[in-house]
């Protein structure tokens, strides 16, 4: 699963609409495989979204986002987890931890929709973990 996080000074950037950098994170079998920074400052909005789509990003974690951009990104089949704030490292740790709780990274006054989004992402990560544990069990059984 590929995630993109809008970053600013090692934190989630406050507003997606004007953010200049994203971190592309590859999570596989419940583990962080790779992370890479992408400078998106010179790109117009659509080019940014196309870039994320071309990179295979399926989920975008960002701060505040204006509604039209949220809708366009969703139309590109990228799930948006918006109104998230805090240090990127901690957010990644939370995502990879057992409880995978992003609630404490919610921006103040943010809508409840983040909760729904979270559940979907948590489900994806959990599925990846499940697949990993299944493959481990199969390996042990063979032995």
């Amino acid at each position: 699963m590929k995630l993109a996080i809008c970053t600013w000074n090692e934190l989630v950037a406050p507003v997606f609409d004007v953010s200049e950098s994203v971190m592309i994170v590859n999570i596989s079998s419940g583990k962080l495989k790779t992370r890479k920074r992408e400078d998106i400052s010179g790109l117009d909005h659509l080019a940014r979204i196309r870039r994320l789509s071309d990179l295979g990003v399926k989920t975008l974690i960002c701060g505040a986002i204006s509604r039209p951009w949220h809708d366009i990104i969703t139309a590109w089949d990228i799930q948006v987890i918006s109104y998230v704030s805090g240090p990127v490292k901690q957010i990644l740790s939370a995502l990879l931890s057992d409880n995978m709780d992003l609630q404490k990274f919610r921006m103040p006054g943010c809508p409840h929709s983040i909760q729904t989004h979270n559940l979907e992402v948590i489900a994806r990560v959990a599925q990846a973990k499940q697949e990993k544990s299944n493959s481990v069990k199969k390996g042990t059984a063979r032995k």
Partner: protein, 447 residues
């Protein structure tokens, strides 16, 4: 710890009463950028309760367009200089952009020691709404587009406005030809100069002539006093001739003379009158084809076609649909005093998959109609006209996010291929993708 501060009121005493009763939002931060006070107006403008704001970094609460790169408060804290009236926007929890103006200053204690910063901000959305109403709902902002198809138009419009040349705007009906004409007019002659629009297709030939040139008393039965024409009304301003392709050949001859000699004769007049009005013509027809069919004078075509702006139909700029829909929702909220949040995701997908033969006007009408049926919340499928849903059924495919994405992608690729005359390498470069990816997408999308 900032979080342990009294979060009920930002301060105590008389200053507190004043702070709580002003309409400007005010918040203060300490040296760690944590919010230490947040007044009532700040709660209202941001939609964030004081209790949740206090103790949080200001960017997590304020989320403005300048937080990341041009923070006014940071500038003040670094330079000790105040910032006054910097305009930007904040994105609220519902994803709405609110225009604001921001002022910042250092916050000092009784001993004069700097203990943080103070930011005041004013909600400009009411002012902005009023400004729009005064201007009759027109705003240069409406010309903002995120579509490559509109790039040329956006580049050409201010350049054209610097000259006095006659302009021809071509585009399907409902693509916003008058909006572009008004933009050129405002940039060239200013808001106060007259902008006079005439629809050449709406009036019969004889009426159109008297409408354009005016008449003198006694020119014909019933002409009891002088009536100035549209050319006279547009003195010092712009005359917008919409649907010029529908003008009769005899009237075309008279218009040609005005364009060549800058003068005209009102009906029944003995003397010519001069005009300095800038002419902007528009049509939804192919004038070159009309010239070939002898339905439009070639010499007039060359006169009006000095600078040409081609407006793309909405189906070629589907990227703009969410923005246009948002703009219309905002406008009708203002006009009808409603609080519709926006358009439901499924409806937006349907909008993107639809071809909009009536272009932006059709989209505007669909949203206006939805406002009648929708009381609050989001515009849903049930608020859409039957025709739109019937067309969806005819395609035998429920539009979903995937079809919306494909529609956007297909439109974009087709346009670039046309622009590069099917040169794959060039098109791939413009689209920022590899040749093989482009080949695959062309095949996938059936282009």
């Amino acid at each position: 710890m900032p979080s342990k501060l009294n979060s009920e009121l930002p301060c105590k005493g008389i200053n507190c009463t004043i702070l709580e009763n002003i309409s400007d939002g005010v918040f203060t931060v300490d040296h760690k950028w944590l919010i230490t006070s947040f007044n009532r107006a700040a709660e209202q403008i941001t939609g964030i309760p004081r209790k949740q704001a206090i103790g949080r970094p200001c960017w997590e609460v304020f989320h403005s367009s300048i937080c990341e790169s041009e923070c006014a408060l940071r500038h003040t804290m670094n330079t000790s200089r105040p910032v006054v009236g910097k305009t930007c926007y904040i994105v609220d929890a519902q994803g709405r952009r609110t225009p604001i103006s921001v002022s910042t200053a250092l916050l000092r204690n009784a001993q004069g020691k700097v203990i943080g910063g103070v930011e005041t901000f004013r909600d400009l959305s009411v002012l902005e709404g009023l400004r729009l109403k005064l201007k009759g709902g027109y705003d240069m902002g409406e010309l903002i587009s995120h579509s490559p198809a509109m790039k040329k138009v956006l580049e050409l419009t201010p350049a054209v406005a610097e000259t006095s040349s006659t302009v021809l705007i071509q585009g399907e009906t409902g693509t916003g030809k008058e909006l572009v004409a008004k933009a050129i007019h405002v940039l060239h002659r200013g808001r106060d100069a007259p902008f006079v629009a005439v629809n050449c297709a709406a009036l019969p030939d004889t009426l159109l002539e008297s409408e354009l040139f005016g008449y003198k008393a006694g020119a014909f039965t019933g002409a009891q006093k002088n009536k100035p024409g549209r050319f006279a009304q547009a003195k010092g301003g712009t005359l917008f001739l919409d649907e010029i392709g529908d003008m009769s050949l005899s009237l075309q001859t008279k218009l040609l003379r005005v364009l060549q000699e800058k003068c005209y004769e009102p009906l029944g007049a003995f003397q010519s009158e001069k005009t300095d009005a800038r002419i902007i013509a528009a049509t939804n027809k192919d004038l070159e084809q009309l010239v070939e069919l002898n339905a439009f004078r070639q010499d007039l075509f060359y006169r009006v076609n000095v600078v040409r702006i081609d407006l793309p139909p909405l189906r070629h700029r589907k990227e703009d649909i969410p923005f246009l829909a948002g703009q219309f929702v905002e406008r009708f909220n203002r006009l009808l005093n409603k609080k519709i949040v926006g358009v439901d995701g499924q409806v937006l997908s349907l909008f993107i998959a639809y071809d909009w033969p009536g272009n932006i006007r059709e989209l505007e009408n669909v949203i206006e109609r939805a406002f009648v049926l929708c009381r609050d919340g989001e515009i849903q499928r049930s608020h859409l006209p039957r025709e739109l849903l019937l067309k969806e059924q005819r395609t035998m495919e429920t539009p979903n996010l995937n079809t919306a994405k494909q529609a956007l992608e297909a439109g974009n690729i087709s346009r670039v291929l046309k622009q590069t005359q099917n040169n794959i390498s060039q098109a791939a470069k413009l689209l920022g993708m590899h040749r093989s990816t482009l080949y695959r997408k062309i095949k996938q999308l059936g282009l």
